[in-house]
Amino acid sequence: MKHIISTLVQNKPGVLAHVAGMFAARAFNIDSLAVGRTDDPGLSRMTIVVIGDDKVVEQVRKQLAKIIDVVKIQDFSGKEVIARDLMLMNVCTPPEKRAEVLALVEMFKAKVVDIGQKFVMVEFSASEDKIESFIDACRPYGIKNMVRTGTVAMARLSQATGGEE
């Protein structure tokens, strides 16, 4: 099962290596990891998607908490959250198929950010499921290449205090 864990960490060199190294050393399974700045320049947020049962995720939380530079941990399991991935993808668009692809982009509320002779680059930010559906829908036309961020997530404001440590 996938669990989204959101952690605030001190914005210092080596923290990412420490977190990633801990996951490797303890044989935890990371599905994705997204790191970025926050409104506080001293803090970064890491959103980690972990695969495992509740027992594994409990250990993940505890081991993260043990790292001195990890300031706060939220486990979003069972919480109402908004979770998004960002994807950029070059889809093959021979002239006779271009209209179909653009219709798909429209349908999924994705965005065309670059157009070439044989490809269009699509930007799509959505939940993981939706992105997977979009990829499936584009596959028949040919995917030249794609890149995805890991999941980032936030609890709905009414529940934002739940699950914090």
């Binding site: 960490v9 001190q10 210092k12 060199p13 080596g14 290596a17 420490h18 190294g21 801990m22 050393a25 027992k55 409990e58 250990q59 505890k62 081991q63 908490a65 043990k66 790292i67 001195i68 530079d69 990890v70 300031v71 706060k72």
Partner: protein, 578 residues
Amino acid sequence: MKKLSSADNSTQSTSTLPIKSGAEIIVATLIEQGVETMFGYPGGVALPLFDKLYDAPINFIIPRHEQGGCHMADGYARASGKTGVVLTTSGPGACNLVTGLATAMMDSVPLVALTAQVRTDLIGNDAFQEADTTGITRPITKHNMIIKDIKDLQRSIREAFYIASTGRPGPVLIDIPVDIEVAKYQMQPLGEINLPGYKPQEKGHHRQIKMAAEMINKSERPVLYAGGGVITDNASEELREFAKKANLPVTMTLLGLGCFDQRQPHSLDMLGMHGTAYANFAVQECDLMIAVGARFDDRVTGKLKTFAPNAKFIHIDIDPSSISKNINVNIPVVGSAKYTLGELTKEVEYKERKAWFDKIADWKKRYPLRYDAKSTNIKPQYVIEQICEATKSEAIIVTGVGQHQMWTAQFYKHIKPRHFLTSGGLGTMGYGLPAAIGAQIAMPGATVIDIDGDSSFNMTMNELCTAVQYELPIKVCIINNGYMGMVRQWQQLFYGKRYSKSSLRNPEFAAVAQAFGAVGITVEKKSEVKSAIAKMLAEKRPCLVDFKVEREENVWPMVATGKSLHEMDGLDIFDSMA
């Protein structure tokens, strides 16, 4: 947050504080943190700091190898309860700390390691004696950091001492580039430590403690299982009071030995792979296990699925990640051993539990630790018993790793905390001699004995020079069977006696000791054991006694890997010796 000074420094003008070099700031901060003794080895980029140590009021011990220095700081910390400090140069100096740091990490020993680093502008360029010290040591330290701005130096050293010594203690490493050692900055006043991601929870939750007490009061067959955390937290007194008031039998892990007087009838001694039969049977039949400062290590539990199958579990630990890691716990209490045991004692009631104690007494009678005492050969267990008798259990005992370590755990009666120093978690051969040196420096008046194996001793015996140089009256007793004994035992039991690469040709250890300037004695007859020990104890110089013991003696009982605790081998061997 912790207030480090009683004076309110916020109003103190910083302009009155002097400007100093990084090296001077390091020395001043070490002194401020109460460092009287440190261990270390000089080298290129550490020279500015060593220059400031030339006339600093710090007792500086130079080992023969940085690994030895790290184990010395570890032994110093375990014996005294203070934070050990070790200093090395960059690259090879820092790399040589690795085994020592990992040893301290596994056994929760407070250490601060300072490593010098190449110039900031050379980092990443494969400079001479450059190594990625923080990268290498990250998984084997509680915390580490590299100082790239002189402004962070003094605060970081203070934080290092705070992190190393609080919560679940451990080693903290600070990597300091040489340009930071020579840069100038103003000394900073002592302020509050502000680490938003580090707030150890000392006080156990009252409701959890109350629930635990109720469970204990109801229990008919409880076992108190005490680990190294009790000793680390100086909670032996609280443990004794608790066990006495609630009337509980006490078993200890290897690192817990000494927290409960083994001469007391309530002591079940050590449990686990080479624990006593009565401890292991009691664990398997108990209805409640109260773990304090212990972590259900695989050498303790044997096969997890069938470990204490009828028991409920209360787990008291300062480290939340130790709780419900291996064993699912009914009542977790995150808190220090000292505080929690104190509170728990107030809540528990005395209960007689006659049937349970009768059963334990019966196991103790049927399966005491035994060896063939009538043998005319020197039995290793006999040597250890004689050392115990001659020192009246009062010595600080340090060991290497292997058979001799297990026999020392079994046959030396441990009665005091911080008197049995051994590498339990990592199992570091070669720990014994340097750790004994560190312990002797911490406790100059104590009798410190390294009971070592021949192979363990071989790994770090160069530190005998250090003992001679600093005129330390340490004793080394080598339980010399000419094998890597534990490896040989496993090869005998599980690999059809194919003793693959487990025997080395040893030097004459007594002659080696003499060459180093220590006293060396060889004992080849059982009749000479007692007099050799007496001579060793009277000796003021470092003294080594090489006991040529029975070569293929085994450690019994033994729970083989994958077996349950009650499935011990060797009990029938006990019967034949009865």
